[in-house]
């Protein structure tokens, strides 16, 4: 064993002439994937059990009497596998022809078109012309409840949806009824998957256009969508997602695999709350208060007088931040408050009574906190105030007579009197709000969909997100003006890039120390355990 360089826990096999060493128990399909060779498949999904019934992943194993389903065949030492041999390719072509025998070929009106595995595989390896001259079987369309619509004729019977509901949601709402060519996915009861909190995932894992989202129905073509890695902002779980955008609008959210956070899934609660990212009522330019209201200006036009006011010193500082803004923006705010002599920073966040775990992977849970960055705000020393619906708690601040800073919180429950008594009121926000009426300076900032940055999720995992949308007008990431102001107050250099801005968080809180964008990567990194604070 040991002398040939690998121990008994691994096996070495050859796939299409390339040698690969994998842990024992790895399937041929996974071993091929490690070589970058994706063997076509429908029924296999890495997050579900494998029934080996789609028969598309059959490969030739030397010495075996028949083609082997690579999704359930364990890799063996010394095995020689061919995925591109005459017999394997011929079989795939044959199976694909069977898939098309009853498929309606309605790609022009199918939402899956462009990201459809049937399209892809047939395009790559299918026959040029189908031989079927027979009338096609017709099932029609069925409402599966919730956000899910079922087009039976497009179904390839991979049963991923049935297995997701059984194994992951553990809420068996779907099943296969009938037998043979008449078999079809169906719901047990009329309500279908309605109310099952993770049912949206069955649309994602459907390899074809059989299960489609009602919300996304006929909204955009898959090839027109840009995909940007992001973090779901709708609770503190921090599910890794992709923002699918077109025409500078978010069209839908899709989960992005991260085995440490959300595996391959996301909840319907998060999935369906994206419209706010598309809001058109935005603060687009910096505003400066004049006697007769706000006057639009440009960044130099607002920063110079603002800096002047700050330098004059307008009394004790109080600030309110939103847990919807990035770690970088929160750190920049904390730096500015520190530069102004220190003061309390509070935040408000909505909190649900219940959590909604995914039974098959309970680490994925719709958390109590319905905001993405509560943990980040707390690590940076901010205090939660207000009630569980994310309102109230700012009565004292409303009448504060010193310097008042607001970052991101729309203050929807407050009126135009807010901050009227403050000697200096600076409001940084994305959306116009009556509560900013009294602000001396209003700075337009971008939302997390429009900027690069990080959130810290419930367990202290710092995760990056990337800009998917173009911010409106002169709006900029909040960390940029805030760190500039702080730096100018202290006479230091201001960070010009977001990764530098993140390092500022490490200077403020030991939990963030040592973390950097490179090490966080696309998977995220846990914050340090809070260091033992020195006595006193």
């Amino acid at each position: 064993m040991g002398d040939n360089g690998h121990d008994s826990d691994t096996v070495t096999l050859t796939i299409d002439g390339l040698e690969v060493t994998v842990p024992k128990g790895t399937t041929i399909l996974q071993a091929a994937e490690a070589l970058g060779n994706r063997i076509p498949h429908y029924c296999y999904h890495p997050g579900l059990s494998a029934p080996a019934q789609c028969r598309l992943c059959l490969v030739e194993v030397e010495g075996a009497p028949k083609l082997a389903p690579s999704c359930v065949t364990d890799a063996q030492d010394g095995q020689v596998v061919h995925t591109e041999s005459e017999s394997a390719k011929g079989m795939r072509q044959g199976v694909l022809e069977f898939y098309l025998a009853n498929h309606p070929l309605d790609c022009p009106i199918c939402d899956q078109s462009g990201e459809c595995k049937l399209q892809d595989y047939v395009f790559e390896e299918g026959r040029k012309h189908g031989r079927s001259r027979e009338p096609k079987r017709v099932f029609g369309r069925d409402d599966f409840g919730g956000d899910v619509l079922f087009y039976g004729d497009r179904c390839v019977m991979c049963t991923r949806c049935v297995r997701f509901m059984d194994e992951m949601a553990q809420d068996p709402r779907l099943t296969v009824v009938e037998r043979g060519n008449r078999s079809i996915i169906d719901t047990f009861f009329e309500e279908g998957v309605e109310g099952s909190p993770y049912s949206g995932n069955i649309v994602d894992i459907c390899p074809v256009g059989a299960l489609v989202s009602k919300d996304f129905l006929h909204k955009a073509r898959a090839w027109d969508l840009d995909h940007t890695p992001s973090i779901c902002p709708n609770c503190s779980q921090g599910c890794n997602i992709d923002l699918h955008t077109r025409d500078n609008l978010v069209q839908r959210l899709k989960p992005r695999p991260n085995l440490d956070v959300n595996e391959y899934w996301m909840c319907d609660y998060g999935r369906h709350r994206y419209e706010w990212m598309n809001r058109g009522d935005r603060i687009e330019v910096p505003l400066v208060r004049r006697d007769d209201g706000h006057e639009a200006t440009d960044w130099p036009g607002v920063l110079e007088p603002l800096l002047e006011s700050l330098r004059e010193g307008k009394g004790p500082v109080r600030a309110v931040a939103s847990p919807f803004v990035s770690n970088e923006a929160l750190a920049a705010l904390a730096s500015l408050v520190e530069a102004l002599g220190g003061g309390e920073i509070v935040f408000r966040s909505a909190r649900a009574d219940t959590e909604i775990p995914l039974p098959g992977f309970p680490k994925l849970t719709r958390r109590h906190d319905l905001v993405p960055n509560r943990r980040g705000a707390e690590i940076l020393g901010m205090t939660r105030v207000g009630s569980d619906d994310g309102s109230s708690g700012l009565d004292e601040l409303a009448d504060h007579r010193g310097t008042l800073l607001v970052l991101g919180d729309e203050l929807a429950d407050l009126g135009p009197d807010f901050g009227a008594r403050a000697s200096l009121y600076l409001y940084l926000g994305s959306h116009p709000t009556p509560a900013a009426t009294a602000a001396d300076f209003v700075l337009p900032i971008t939302t997390h969909a429009e900027e690069e940055g990080t959130f810290t999720n419930y367990e202290g995992r710092v995760q990056r997100f990337w800009p998917a949308l173009q911010g409106p007008g002169a709006a900029r990431p909040a960390w940029l003006p805030l760190s500039l102001l702080a730096a100018r107050m202290e006479g230091t250099r201001s960070p010009s890039r977001v990764d530098e801005a993140f390092l500022r968080a490490g200077e403020l809180a030991p939990e963030f120390r040592g973390l950097a964008y490179e090490s966080i990567g696309t998977r995220g990194a846990l914050v340090n355990e809070p260091a033992v604070l020195p006595e006193g």
Partner: protein
């Protein structure tokens, strides 16, 4: 001449009780020498029982012909939890009607075989999975199980040996696919009858996830006789590779149809013309399907000098299967016959694997079109090609079974197809 018809060339070992109403009862069966095998087996010990069955060369009568003793020896020797024996009584292959008769006439023979086999593989529970449509048979076998329990032949401490074996009769719900061994296990467990992926094989992970052995009714019926008389005794009949006797279910265009127990290696022509009395006047043999609807056709030419043994039929390009001999004379419209067979498989496909789910229906639709005179010659190539795509690419062999008659009929009766395609005329009317 008793039970519908018996012929002097028959060797009636397991069909001895056919037509004897008293053989159905426990006392009647005992009078015929019943339960001597069980008694002897319990005295012999497990290993010796397996050795005797191995020595007899008994091969599985369900169709695959796997040596029974070898199959039993795959079971774990060291027991780590329950073992199960499954008796496959879900006889649904078109043209097959032997297990039904064995259970109807000699239910205790089946139970005795089950108990011996269960003892040999250390199983404490036997499931007799009986086809759903066999209403009478289900009742007969269930009553016999009750009798066996009352007589202390099943249940706890069988015949004072300290061995406990429970017997449950499980009635199927009418799916052909549940005769496939792993689908049968799923069905016993209360799920949809979908064949499982192998490996793992039943001897490692079977019903309820425990080591299991599954045997056909006819196989188990032969076991008590082998145990009583010994392996060599059984080998007095048949060939070296296919020892013993076998029930042949003959149906179709012969004068006498029915079950005939014959030694393996019996000449097919003798079966047709002697035992079954040949054809109606003026008719002659056109084709034979020797092993149930899922094996390739044999032409009249193939039937010459064909020995009815596992190896003899393979030599002629077909398979013995479960020895359901379907005979067709020259009136037969082969295309229609094949289409009806494929329809059956299309209806019974479980729908898991794509080649079977889509392929069976597609084949049947093309065949229907040809039958109606709307076919083309390219259709024949398509049929053969689809058949090849359906062979060896699925979890179980239902797909292969549907393809086999299509491919072999096009090979052997191409003229029948061409007559329909070119002239719109069917050869044969029946």
């Amino acid at each position: 001449m008793a039970y519908p018809y018996t012929h002097e060339r028959e060797t009636r070992v397991i069909s001895r009780g056919f037509g004897e109403p008293e053989a159905r009862t426990l006392d009647g069966w005992k009078a015929l020498g019943g339960y001597q095998g069980l008694k002897k087996a319990l005295e012999m010990g497990r290993a010796e029982v397996i050795d005797v069955v191995k020595a007899s060369g008994l091969r599985g009568r369900g169709g695959a012909g796997f040596p029974t003793g070898v199959k039993w020896s795959f079971m774990p020797q060291e027991k780590q939890g329950p073992h199960y024996l499954l008796c496959n009584a879900d006889e649904s292959e078109p043209g097959t009607f032997k297990d039904r008769e064995l259970m109807r006439w000699t239910p205790h023979q089946v139970i005795e075989g089950c108990l011996i086999a269960a003892y040999a593989i250390q199983a404490e529970h036997v499931y007799i999975y009986c086809r759903g449509e066999f209403f009478e048979t289900n009742q007969v076998i269930a009553r016999a199980v009750e009798e066996a329990y009352e007589a202390g032949l099943a249940g706890e401490d069988i015949l004072g040996s300290g061995v406990t074996i429970d017997v449950t009769v499980h009635q199927g719900a009418g799916a052909y696919i549940c005769g496939e061994e792993t689908a049968l296990m799923e069905s016993v467990e209360g799920r949809r009858g979908l064949p499982r992926v192998k490996p793992p094989f039943p001897a490692a992970v079977g019903v309820f996830g425990k080591p299991s052995t599954i045997n056909n009714v006819e196989t188990l019926c032969a076991v008590p006789h082998i145990v009583v008389h010994g392996g060599e005794w059984y080998r007095q009949w048949g060939t070296d590779e296919s020892p013993g006797t076998k029930l042949f279910c003959v149906s179709g265009h012969v004068r006498r149809k029915g079950n005939f127990e014959l030694p393996m290696g019996f000449p097919l022509e003798d079966l047709l013309y002697d035992v079954c009395g040949g054809f109606e006047k003026g008719r002659k043999l056109k084709a034979v399907i020797p092993g149930g609807s899922s094996v390739p056709f044999m032409t009249a030419e193939d039937c010459k000098d064909c020995s009815l043994s596992y190896e003899g039929v393979v030599e002629k390009g077909s398979m013995l299967g479960c020895a359901s001999v379907m005979v067709m004379d020259d009136r037969t419209n082969i295309v229609k016959q094949v289409r009806r067979t494929v329809d059956f498989f299309a209806h019974e496909s479980c729908g898991q694997c794509t080649p079977c789910r889509e392929g069976t229906t597609w084949l049947s639709r093309i065949l229907l079109r040809i039958e109606r005179g709307k076919g083309t010659e390219e259709d024949l190539d398509t049929l053969v090609d689809l058949g090849r795509q359906m062979t060896g690419t699925t979890i179980c062999v239902l797909s292969d079974s549907a393809a086999a008659p299509v491919i072999s009929s096009i090979e052997k009766f191409r003229d029948d197809y061409l007559a329909l395609i070119r002239r719109g005329e069917a050869v044969g009317t029946a």
